[in-house]
Assembly symmetry: C2
Amino acid sequence: MDILMGIGKAGLRSGNKPDLLVILLPQTCNASFLFTNNHFKSASVLYSQKVFKGKVRAMVINSGNANCGVGREGLIHAELMAKRVAEKLEIEEDEVLVFSTGVIGRPMPIDRVLDAIDSACSLLEPLDLKRASEVISTTDSFPKYDFVKKDKLEAFGFAKGAGMIHPNMGTMLAFVFTNADLREGVIEKLHRDINERTFNSISVDGCMSTNDSFGLISLGLIKEDLQKVSDAIEEVSLSLAKKIVQDGEGATRLIKVKVKNASLQLKARLIAQAIATSNLVKTAIFGKDPNWGRIVAAAGSTPFPIDQFKLRVYIGNHLLYDGKVHPKALEGAKKYMEESQEIEITLDLMEGKESWIYYASDMTYDYIKINAEYTT
Amino acid sequence: MDILMGIGKAGLRSGNKPDLLVILLPQTCNASFLFTNNHFKSASVLYSQKVFKGKVRAMVINSGNANCGVGREGLIHAELMAKRVAEKLEIEEDEVLVFSTGVIGRPMPIDRVLDAIDSACSLLEPLDLKRASEVISTTDSFPKYDFVKKDKLEAFGFAKGAGMIHPNMGTMLAFVFTNADLREGVIEKLHRDINERTFNSISVDGCMSTNDSFGLISLGLIKEDLQKVSDAIEEVSLSLAKKIVQDGEGATRLIKVKVKNASLQLKARLIAQAIATSNLVKTAIFGKDPNWGRIVAAAGSTPFPIDQFKLRVYIGNHLLYDGKVHPKALEGAKKYMEESQEIEITLDLMEGKESWIYYASDMTYDYIKINAEYTT
């Protein structure tokens, strides 16, 4: 691959770590970007949303400062960052996108950031996914990247994030690339669909960030069957999404919530989401408690009716409720919860053919510690 | 007041505590009842919803068992409870309502419950609000009741609840009475309006119970101006609602979230709710951290747009953001958070005239402890 990266240090993160990453693509690429729906958006998101017109040549990403909640100055800073990258790399300014992640409400020390861009652009090297993830990390405890190769088809990416919002931090960022050619019009739809099943089906704390961004970039090097390309991109995206959940603040377990045999896909999805974002379900998983009462209470809380005398609830393979209780199954379920790192909850609505899977982290003392004790 | 109560023991709660309460009204009364919107409802809720036609004479309430998630048997049990009360007190069966609160998924030991009804009905005494709250409590740490008297007008009530759902428990129950005469048609609307501003504007953990019920009963003894009656009922209802939040699982603080100067009341309400239910805001309050970034991130997460360059955020009287940051105000805000039991967050949208207030508890280590360590 011919993607290059440059690394700089603007002193935005503690511990003198690199905190600025420039990514230069081999040529202008078709791409699709999805940004947070939060109305209180980072100025970097507002800037990138404004300039992006389906093509991208370079990206500049800083960690340690969200460039959010700093008033209109943030917009000027984002523009200055893009302009500097364009000048240094001699590319079009409107093909440079800007991303930020870190503390909200702290003005960006823009001079230091521009200096870091200068040094990053002056020493470009081939993209190293692991290193790229490390540079854009904030409180992540491990780098997040993956690579899929199927014959000539490649899909790969890197991400950061350990919660939809961090202690004072904003954000999940994810960038996925493929060597396959994806046309304008095609790439956006494929990107949106994959996003729904991956990054939009995970939850650490149910909170929506000000900075979330997910980019999909087509390098346009090979022609390949669209379904195969889509599958490879989804595989990488889901892998990155699951890593974010695994690294969820204070998490000890990955929870996989599957709602199946629903009459509508939206219904399956909203019920899976209600279970995956329930604090009571998440604390029960942490407590290794096969508490199916909390699962059905969460399942009943969406606008969609459910038939409590028909549905079935499983933890692992253990059937705990199917219109009547199965007290003897609790022991097996508890044992499963004690022994497994990934806890699978299945709700079978017994009414149709649609299903959805949602991933979540459990909720622990460390979630409270991380979010209550790190003060501004 | 001529409301009578009887107390029984069915052995549903640990510690040999009374767990069954029968309330007998002096005559058949106009009333309004609101039940949980959860689709996985307690059988007691399903039964009471079915029989209630605007009139009530007696109520039977058990704690320690939610009569929920036990299949169709639960419906039969609820009916048997109502029937037994009607027989013993020689009143109409369809004017007896049934309420349950406690563990989900545990079959009701109906013989013991019916025996407890017999003894409760055989020794009636005047309603004691404090005692009534104690009998229907589950993990509540204090009884919840209040009494308002304005000249001849009286409004009073009792409640239980320390979370929308407890560890394995279902529920908030609240019963409010007035000596004023409220006609059918009038009482329902007044009840719904008050409910929106009181019990529907509190959150401990954002979880919806299977058993929540709120009853308003008019004893019809005096004629009084409707606005005065409504104010008195709202005063009692808000007092009970705030007590539930104060007793929220593991709570150390009451959070009052006020969203003001919104263009629409619904917008003010949804934004207040988003802030009040944000785990990140709630952990920040526990950590005494004036983390306004989390407040605006929550405020931006609803479907309603907000203008980030215009809005103002206050903690107490401390202005922390108004399109620009005020780092110097953080210290005062922190001091206020350290010294206050009730933390007031104000978001001024600077765009209209509508406002809403939402109450929440903070999120603490004890929330995790209560919900992770109490296993089935």
